[in-house]
């Protein structure tokens, strides 16, 4: 301990110690000379003798230093100084190497941050691993199927033994469900109705105020709301006295009971892309039970209960409850850990990204390794001289490794900055439907990862050059005149292997990216069933006097007149080609109702269901949905006439198995059967990748259940122009109309494919980077080997080889490397593409177009990378090449 301290001190007082030692050595020599002279030696001879006895002043100094200071630290400092000097001497090389490594590290760190947020970091709730998502059906079945009915849910909650508690929210909210009229600004807000215990179950406590009281959660109880932190800051200037006061929400006063903390972001976890503004109580009562399946459920498992045992109990209990006499929908709970529900869908894509980043990093390492090897060869003389001066092989190897580590650490610094920018950019991407994306950030874990990655890659790409420190005869190396060194063959082989590896990795990345890009294009190419181009939608809910549950005839008439007025005004606007109304635009919310061919009986489990759209006349053409048979609704389809229904092809097939469907009757939501008046094409309204299933359309004049109203226009005008002219024309009808913007249907489509686009963009970036690196690798190796063989080339040209022959020879060599790399790459790709099968759409994992395309691209790039040095070689003047010796 004491010794270590002394050594440390010594390391700090380096120069003083050194002077002290010099003085001591000088004194020693003087004393020795005195002594020898006094014993009769000649003074000059005495000096020589004294020095001989002393045995090498420099060696003694070195030994003294070792004994005195921290020898490894000294050497490290020396290595570092030397490395820095080397780097400064070749700024271009250094900058290039640092840049390559930094890009790789930045990519890896960014992807790591995303991965750590979405997969590794726990959800921002208390004991999140005990939280379970309770659905009634798998996610591809539509919201109505996935959700639970209120009384069924209550019964299940009371009787199960697995959950400590279960909470629910109303799954059929739509963005902009409420309007807030505050300080003269009317704004549509996103409101989520939740059960009383929703926040307590998640462990989220209001920042100020309280949660909902039991009374507030009764049917027609006192109106209360919890504000999100964002809304509180944005609209109420963070006023702490707001709590306890009322705000005018949907024309009635609602008491603000509390404000939720900023850390709680419902949208980020449960509804990516949606910013929830406030929360209201959802009563779990007989009244809400009548609405059918409405609840999305989260449960908290009791300590020690596994999800498997909870599932086993839930299955049995679900069957038991379903069989009970109380009328209600089936309950078939399906449990998933909440974390998996939130990010499980993205897991394969994220893992693909992770693999891609590993491949990129390996290519970066191979590339740098190669560059360092080439440079190492150029530095053979330097190493020879240093080893002649007494540097051991291990020391030289350590020197090379120090240099590569230093490069890597510089790269880490640059890379961390880039990753910081990258993660910030990602977190700011609001247009992407990816959960938790906004909380992606560069945290301590990610930084630790960066440093570990830098050290690891520094060692990896420094290892080959370090092991290839030229050994053997110093004289030999010094005699070399820049020509092939003693072990250049081994060297060349290693470099070739590295290039082949780069090509192989790059081609695997390219194949994966190619497959995903082709899938993406296929998705975009999908027949949506509607035409998003030149169409736009905006929410325009009607004035509240029309929003009554049981409508008198007069109200219905006034309501119909209102719709006629709205559509009439909008249609007469210049530039508007078609206009219609729908309850929810495509790729938004969905709901299903039962529907049956009139006169048919179905088994209980086989009763047909279809997605419901309540529309006005004109919606179908405005959205660009094709009418295959029959007609659109008209203004004359009212409560006074026979109920009408328009169905899609799938539902027609489902109900009548290919027989003529037009004009037939179905049992729907009316007291009397309704008539099929039209058959339209299938619309992909769940997701682009997902077939639409059965769909049916009702006119809003006959079905009054319209939770929200969207105006859909077909027009050449841009959305801003549409917004202002439509607003102007509708304002007289509804003076309190909130400010809303038209959103083009293309934007809706874009948002729906955003997770796929996100992955494709990142992967394409990585693949491009890999391609550039691989081509650089080829270029470096070929031009080096050409440079080394200058003389040989000169001789061959002098003997009559034509430049063309030479050029071809070099190109052949290049393509041979590329071919080996591609063969390996194709083999690996074939296996790897099976793993990403789940991400592909409309493309087989062994898609020949992609594979052949990648092979062609890679060969072309290799040919170019090899052609440049080949051409340079063929232009060699044989005389100059020979004289160069």
């Amino acid at each position: 301990m004491r010794e270590l301290l002394a050594r440390l001190l010594a390391a700090f007082h380096r120069s003083r110690r050194e002077q002290d030692l010099d003085a001591e050595i000088a004194a020693h020599l003087k004393l020795a000379i005195d002594d020898l002279v006094s014993r009769g030696a000649d003074p000059r001879e005495a000096r020589r003798l004294a020095l001989a006895k002393f045995g090498g002043v420099e060696a003694a100094r070195e030994e003294h230093r070792d004994a005195r200071g921290l020898p490894w630290a000294d050497r490290l400092a020396q290595d570092l100084r030397y490395a820095l000097r080397t780097m400064r001497r070749e700024p271009a090389f250094t900058a290039f190497a640092v840049l390559i490594a930094a890009l790789g590290i930045a990519a890896a760190t960014t992807v790591f941050s995303v991965l750590s947020t979405l997969l590794l970091r726990p959800l921002p709730f208390s004991q999140p691993d005990r939280l379970v998502w309770v659905a009634n059906a798998p996610p591809e079945d539509g919201l109505s199927a996935q959700t639970l009915q209120v009384l069924r849910f209550l019964s299940f909650r009371n009787r199960n033994h697995s959950f400590r508690d279960m909470a629910a929210y109303f799954a059929f909210y739509e963005p902009g469900d409420s309007t807030l009229n505050w300080n003269g600004r009317i704004e549509r807000l996103n409101v989520l109705p939740v059960s009383q215990n929703f926040f307590p179950l998640l462990g989220v406590k209001p920042e100020i105020g309280r949660g909902f009281s039991t009374q507030e959660c009764q049917w027609n109880g006192p109106k209360a709301a919890l504000l999100s932190h964002g809304l509180w800051v944005r609209r109420f200037a963070s006023d702490p006295h707001l709590v306890g006061r009322t705000i005018p929400l949907d024309d009635s006063p609602v008491t603000v009971v509390g404000v939720l903390p900023a850390s709680f972001d419902f949208g980020a976890v449960f509804a990516p892309g949606i910013q929830m503004d406030l929360y209201v109580p959802f009563p779990l009562t007989d009244e809400t039970d009548r609405w059918g399946n409405t609840l999305a459920v989260v449960g908290r498992l009791k300590p020690g209960v596994t999800i498997q045992s909870a599932q086993a109990e839930a299955t049995v209990l679900g069957q038991l409850i379903t069989r009970e006499p109380h009328r209600g929908n089936d309950i078939t709970p399906q449990l998933t850990p909440l974390k998996q529900h939130v990010s499980g869908r993205l897991r394969p894509a994220l893992l693909t990204l992770a693999f891609a980043v590993v491949a990129v990093m390996l290519i970066v390492c191979a590339n740098l390794s190669n560059l360092l090897l080439v440079r190492g060869a150029a530095r053979q003389k330097e190493f020879a001289i240093r080893s002649a001066l007494g540097a051991g092989l291990a020391r030289l190897a350590r020197q090379v490794l120090t240099e590569s580590l230093l490069l890597a650490l510089f790269a880490a610094a640059v890379g961390a900055c880039l990753a910081w920018l990258g993660t910030r950019a990602l977190a700011g991407l609001t247009a992407f439907n990816i959960p938790l994306l906004s909380s992606v950030r560069l945290d301590g874990t990610a930084l630790a990862f960066t440093i570990a990655l830098a050290v690891l890659s520094g060692v990896v790409f420094g290892l080959a050059p370090a092991l290839h420190v030229p050994r053997g005869d110093v004289g030999e190396a010094l005699k070399e005149q820049g020509r092939a060194a003693t072990d250049s063959h081994r060297h060349g082989l290693l470099r070739s292997v590295l290039v082949v590896a780069e090509i192989a990795f790059a081609s695997v990345l390219l194949v994966g990216t190619g497959l995903l890009i082709r899938s993406f294009l296929r998705v975009l190419d999908v027949n949506l069933g509607f035409q998003p181009a030149r169409a736009a939608a905006m929410r325009i809910d009607m004035p509240s006097q029309f929003l009554q549950d049981n409508m008198a005839k007069t109200t219905v008439a006034r309501r119909d007149a209102y719709f006629n007025d709205v559509l009439g005004r909008v249609r007469s606007l210049p530039g508007v080609e078609a206009a219609g109304i729908i309850d929810s635009p495509p790729l938004g919310r969905n709901r299903t109702w039962g529907i049956a061919a009139h006169g048919m009986t179905y088994k209980p489990n086989e009763y047909p269901e279809a997605f419901v759209h309540v529309v006005s006349d004109g919606y179908i053409p405005a959205a660009g949905i094709r009418i295959i048979e029959g007609r659109d609704f008209t203004e004359r389809d009212t409560t006074e006439t026979e109920p009408a229904i328009v169905i899609n092809e799938t539902l027609a097939r489902r109900l009548w198995h290919g027989e003529e469907a037009l004009g037939r009757q179905v049992d729907g939501p009316f007291k009397t059967p309704c008539r099929v008046v039209g058959i339209v094409s299938d619309v992909r309204h769940l997701a682009l990748e997902q077939a639409s299933g059965s769909e049916m359309y009702f006119t809003l004049r006959q079905v009054h259940d319209l939770p929200s109203i969207y105006l859909v226009l077909r027009s050449r005008l841009d959305t801003a122009a549409l917004t202002s002219s439509v607003r102007q024309t509708l304002l007289p009808l509804d003076p309190e109309m909130p400010r809303e913007q038209f959103e083009s249907l293309e934007q809706l489509v874009d948002r729906s494919v955003s997770p796929r686009r996100f992955i494709v963009f990142l992967l394409a970036g990585f693949a491009a980077f890999a391609l550039v690196l691989a081509s650089l690798g080829i270029y470096a190796v070929i031009s080096y080997s050409v440079g080394q063989r200058k003389q040989e080339i000169g001789i061959r040209m002098a003997l009559g080889a034509s430049p063309g022959t030479l050029q071809n020879g070099i190109l052949r060599e290049t393509l041979r490397l590329a071919a080996i790399g591609l063969a390996v790459g194709a083999f690996v790709s074939a296996a790897a593409s099976q793993l990403i099968q789940g991400l592909l759409y409309g493309v087989r994992p062994e898609d020949p177009v992609t594979f052949l395309g990648v092979i062609a691209l890679m060969l072309a790039v290799a040919a170019i990378a090899g052609y440049l040095p080949a051409r340079r070689a063929s232009l060699t003047d044989p005389m100059i090449a020979l004289r160069a010796e």
């Binding site: 004491r2 002290d20 001591e24 050595i25 004194a27 004393l31 002594d35 002393f54 003294h64 005195r68």
Partner: protein, 118 residues
């Protein structure tokens, strides 16, 4: 003849330095080196320079201390003296080396006997 001189075993120089200082009192580096050479009857191969690494090592361990002073012929020199801790250590080292020497002696003596019997 250099070949016939003894190479220094690891750790022996430190003991010799301590012993020299214990026996002679404060001494400068050259004096210690000379003394070791004399005592060993010039049988040890000692580069005098190596003594300084040993001195700094002993100093760091707190077994000796150093002070600049003047030699008998008025040369400025650094004088080393043994500390109480150094004496304790020397005692341990001496005991160790004596035991080792005894054992080595016995082992080698038995070998000599065997050779004699053969």
């Amino acid at each position: 003849m250099p070949e016939s001189k003894l190479g220094l075993l690891q750790g022996t120089l430190d003991v010799m330095v301590l012993q020299t200082l214990a026996a002679m009192g404060p001494q400068h580096g050259y004096g210690i080196a000379r003394r070791i050479e004399q005592v060993s009857g010039d049988e040890i191969l000692l580069n005098q320079g190596t003594i300084y690494a040993s001195l700094v090592r002993l100093q760091h361990r707190g077994w000796i201390r150093a002070k600049w002073g003047a030699s008998e012929n008025k040369r400025k020199a650094k004088f080393y003296s043994i500390t109480p801790k150094g004496r304790v250590r020397l005692g341990q080292d001496v005991a160790y080396w004596q035991r080792l020497a005894d054992v080595m002696g016995r082992v080698l003596a038995s070998r000599a006997r065997e050779n004699g019997n053969a």
